[in-house]
Symmetry: C2
Subunit: 297 residues, 2 copies
């Protein structure tokens, strides 16, 4: 499909008519830093009034869906409910449901409370949070870490409490090839206040190197997250458009899942970067920002 710049009012309206569901990245689409994108609130309210389904998609694995509802509501995005939020922790728990992961097995979480909450809500049993404050005391402590046949999976998310004990346990459990190795997302950096810190995609690297195994990654741009969204909400990908500001996560995500894709230029991507992007990261549509729809609907 040829890239289409949406500028004329007719084009913008025809675009909206083409879809039932919009998957929305948040940072760079709804806000940029602490500023709300002009017209984004109004556009989403109009989409709702037209009966469009909105699903907010984030790779952040540490926050619960309720905390996103609270944040969006506080910023003036009205009518948001928890089932419209699709974080990578929730998507990962949904993935475990879709593969019928046994409820009597334990999931070792190398991550934070948000992951445990989503798994618990879907009836799974987790462990690992008890190692948050673990301090290494020496080799005897390593020898005491033993394979545990109750463990059926290791799930890695962002983990500010990462420590060597957690890595040593996860490494030990992953020696059993039956134990699943899953990551909520693979973002290499964790952005905070205009700076970066090591992200989830950095934190599971030691396990790849030490075990020789590769994790199944759930979050954007991997198709698994979109498969889970489609299955959970019974979406038709052909009537669904992914809206985002990043080519390598948001646009690739929509493309991998067979959805249409809309690039907004209100975030990190400049228009001149699009033509040189790999084919699977090129959007179908471009608008300056979500605000473009505000006056034409």
């Amino acid at each position: 499909m040829t890239l289409q710049h949406l500028t004329a009012a007719d084009d913008l309206r025809a675009f909206v008519d083409r879809f039932d569901t919009f998957l929305l990245d948040m940072d760079g689409v709804l806000w940029q830093g602490s500023d709300i994108i002009d017209g984004a609130r109004e556009t989403l309210a109009q989409f709702r009034a037209m009966g469009k389904r909105l699903i907010f998609v984030t790779n952040n694995s540490t926050k619960s869906r309720d905390s996103y509802v609270e944040k969006l509501t506080k910023l003036g995005f009205t009518g948001v409910t928890a089932d419209e939020i699709f974080g990578s922790s929730y998507a990962t728990a949904c993935y475990f449901t879709t593969i019928d992961f046994p409820k009597d097995k334990l999931i070792y979480v190398m991550g934070q409370q948000g992951i445990v909450d989503e798994f618990t809500a879907q009836g799974f049993q987790t462990c690992g949070l008890e190692d948050q404050g673990a301090v290494f005391h020496g080799i005897d402590e390593l020898i005491a870490i033993q394979p545990d046949e109750r463990i059926g999976a290791v799930v890695c998310g962002f983990d500010g409490y990462l420590n060597y004990t957690k890595l040593a346990k996860a490494h030990t459990y992953l020696q059993d090839p039956e134990v699943l190795f899953i990551a909520t997302n693979a973002d290499s950096q964790y952005p905070v206040s205009g700076r970066t810190f090591p992200g989830t995609g950095a934190l599971f690297q030691p396990l790849i190197t030490s075990t020789g195994r590769q994790p199944t990654v759930i979050g954007k741009p991997h198709a698994t997250m979109l498969d889970v969204i489609v299955a959970t909400h019974h979406l038709d990908p052909h009537r669904t458009c992914m809206v985002g500001d990043r080519l390598d996560t948001d646009i690739a995500f929509g493309r991998h899942g067979g959805c249409a894709t809309l690039l907004v230029l209100s975030g990190v991507t400049r228009e001149d970067q699009v033509p040189s992007a790999p084919e699977d990261m090129r959007p179908d549509y471009i608008v300056p920002s979500l605000g473009a729809f505000q006056d034409v609907l």
Copy 2:
């Protein structure tokens, strides 16, 4: 050079005459697990009596040279002195000396006391051990981590005390391209009692992913460690032989440094693995074990 199997007494004697210095891996060469290799003690005593110089080379970055002297002596290897021990921490500190790293700069150590001891002994200033017990409390703590222009290098070794705070600090310092990124060694696994745990080469992977930088690795099989040994002991590589049981670390190490190489089959490598090894991991000589020399010298 063609691979030579040393079996005849004349060949064994001619081999020993060819070299002034033997670089010796320990695990698999002097002992295997808790068993001492038959004849290894006697052979090394004979090498000493013939005036050969012995240098014990290890990638372990956590133990001091004195603790290796103690271990070797306790196991019956006589006459060992601290300056015969070349661990990767010591080699790394020597490397900083050879590059004239400024003594007024700070070195952030993502590793244990052994590294700090070796750097301190050579007059360098380190920091990082104070983060051993750090526990993450949230985003405010990350924001408080600031670039620090006193830091001139990040050194990574084995670190059982690794935690997210250390990774976040190292990541922040490495944003400055002038800050050196050095690893004592790159072993992907840390062997303990017949099992494995994540090794140094696993623990610095998050920084590679989050910063996009690659560390300079000092330990075996990298040439830097051998360069430092040669410079420190004023060795002639042509009169030096590396003795080890691993093709990808020990033999590659000797080959990269222009030394002769002797593979002992008393460790992890079987003879039938040699012909299919990459050219730069093939030894010049093979013996069943160091014990082969015991009765012919």
